[in-house]
Symmetry: C2
Subunit: 348 residues, 2 copies
């Protein structure tokens, strides 16, 4: 049984990218091996790999694959080729900040080279560094974040901000893991998180595998468990955080934050600095809409009448006034976010 | 195609009870014929028929079946037999108020008889009256409730408080139907309503069949659509209403009410007076918990890891301060509920 304290969601191996196929979980643990950039991009689109930090690493590896297998014999051709790959990876899903950031880093690395060989080496190395740094960031997020949790706390999380959403260890679940590693007894409640059921399929699986006490509820039961005083803290991930502290995360996060506020429960978001976007305004961030099939069919079985209209936004926006603190690898950021986020991200 | 303006969910026919099997919807429209009380009770337990007013009528018909097919040759034996049947029906699901009320009415009818034959006649007649009155109540609820809706409104409802939740026409959906019959253009948004997906399976089906504009969303998207100002009013049903205005309804209703309040959206509950319980205190009402299988499996397919802990309460409690008004067949009840509910229900 995989331990998600140490498991790796995605890795590089001699010109191949190997990733866990998350659409098959929890029933089967299988891996996909990609040798072409397009294969990684397709895996992102199909949500075989998902989670902002994980698809950031996947985007970097997409560029690395393009570089590693290039037939270009001059730098401009190579750059053009890897820029194309980077663009595909960035556009695979629009809401998370990390893919654009990761692509940018790999392309910058290539631009420092004076030969094709050197560029390939630098790009692959940069992708590897991004992946390594992500695990390190998650561990630091855990280290900072666990100080917010008390022994005996029950934490409600949503979707999957775990090892599977990152290269390893997780952001929100990293905080929980770090608290457990410190010897604190933490219980977790997770709503199943329709439409893609990442709470049921992935978070319950990760935590159950690791022997962390996890209880699964329907998305409709969030208010109920809060009203029953079963929840001490809420900790979620974030796919994009703007400079004024708006958080873009899995659909349902916003209502979780409203409910937490209504019940005076602290609401924390945990994310690496690679999920921050200091340039965009909140109103300009694209909320991805996915296929109606995710709603009208579950595991291929029809659950709604044919022809019915469906609206399937898969992310939402939580305003800063509902967020108690943001946990990053650079420390815990507290309001007023318009000042503290910039301060934390730009300090040396 | 069935029109839910006129369709009947459950009916009596010469000693048989015929009901739509709602577990097969929306894929197949099939009927179940029951001749034994136990068959109706099993249909209630399996949610082949569900919705407080509908299972109220089903409970009355359970007693009617026991009476109709009795072999008792004296009144005390008959009464004992039908009391047993009534008890089974009342206990099939604990949260809705209507079954106990309906059973009480049929038993009271029997007690007026001076012979077994007369008792059978009176019980069957009373069950038929309960069913007829339910349709009538729904139409009146619609008549009163539609005055709260404006031409062009988008109404968010939850679960199914439609024709299928009653003997016909519906409570919350009755209000929407009545507004449509008045020529108002009403759009409906319905979350799928896990775990049993009555929003996706039943409400979307009813409204789509009737040509009423309905849009299906995930339960996680409720806050999102409210924040986007897509919702003008919320109208839901109620399985039990206590004298001080606490509403017990499908899990998810409470968080809907909190979110409606946060976005200054009026929140209405629509229910016949048979759903009121003036005796119980809110804290004494039993919240039904159903099988973990409803969460970990969807249509027989496993979506969560084996062995994971599940909490599956299927109703919740919404406090009076979150409820703008309660729509009944006796008129619209407004706060302060501790005075107005009693007043409305006891007036001649």
């Amino acid at each position: 049984m995989l331990s998600f304290y140490t498991a790796r969601t995605i890795r590089w191996e001699d010109g191949k990218v190997i990733l866990i196929d998350q659409t098959k979980l929890p029933n089967k643990l299988t891996y996909i091996t990609c040798t072409k950039p397009k294969e990684v991009v397709e895996a992102i689109k199909r949500m075989q790999i998902r989670g902002a930090p994980a698809i950031g690493a996947a985007a970097a590896y997409t560029v690395a694959l393009a570089a590693y297998h290039t037939k270009a014999n001059n730098l401009p051709d190579l750059l053009k080729e890897i820029e194309e790959a980077g663009k595909m990876a960035k556009n695979a899903r629009p809401t998370a900040a990390n893919p654009a950031w990761a692509v940018e880093r790999t392309l910058s690395a290539a631009k420092k080279a004076t030969s094709v060989e050197e560029a390939v080496k630098l790009v692959v190395k940069e992708a590897e560094t991004i992946a390594e740094e992500d695990i390190e960031a998650c561990r630091k997020i855990g280290k900072y974040g666990e100080t917010l949790l008390k022994d005996g706390d029950t934490v409600l999380t949503q979707c999957n901000a775990g090892a599977l959403a990152t290269v390893g260890y997780g952001t929100a679940l990293g905080v929980i893991r770090a608290a457990c590693e410190k010897g604190k007894c933490i219980k977790v409640i997770v709503p199943e998180t329709r439409p893609a059921l990442q709470g049921a399929r992935l978070t319950a699986y990760e935590l159950h595998n690791d022997g962390i006490d996890v209880m699964l509820i329907a998305d409709t039961a969030v208010g109920f468990v809060m009203r029953k005083k079963l929840v001490d803290k809420v900790v979620v991930g974030a796919d994009r955080i703007t400079s004024d502290g708006h958080i873009f995360n899995k659909i349902g996060t916003y209502q979780l934050a409203v409910l937490a506020s209504e019940h005076s429960i602290p609401f924390y978001a945990a994310a690496p600095t690679s999920s921050f976007d200091l340039k965009s305004k909140a109103e300009d961030v694209v909320i991805e809409e996915r296929s109606p099939d995710e709603i009208v069919k579950i595991k291929g079985q029809r659950v709604a009448p044919k022809g019915v209209r469906v609206y399937n936004p898969v992310f939402d926006q939580t305003p800063p006034n509902l967020i108690s603190a943001i946990i990053t690898e650079r420390g815990i950021i507290k309001p007023p976010y318009e000042r503290t986020i910039k301060h934390t991200l730009t300090k040396p």
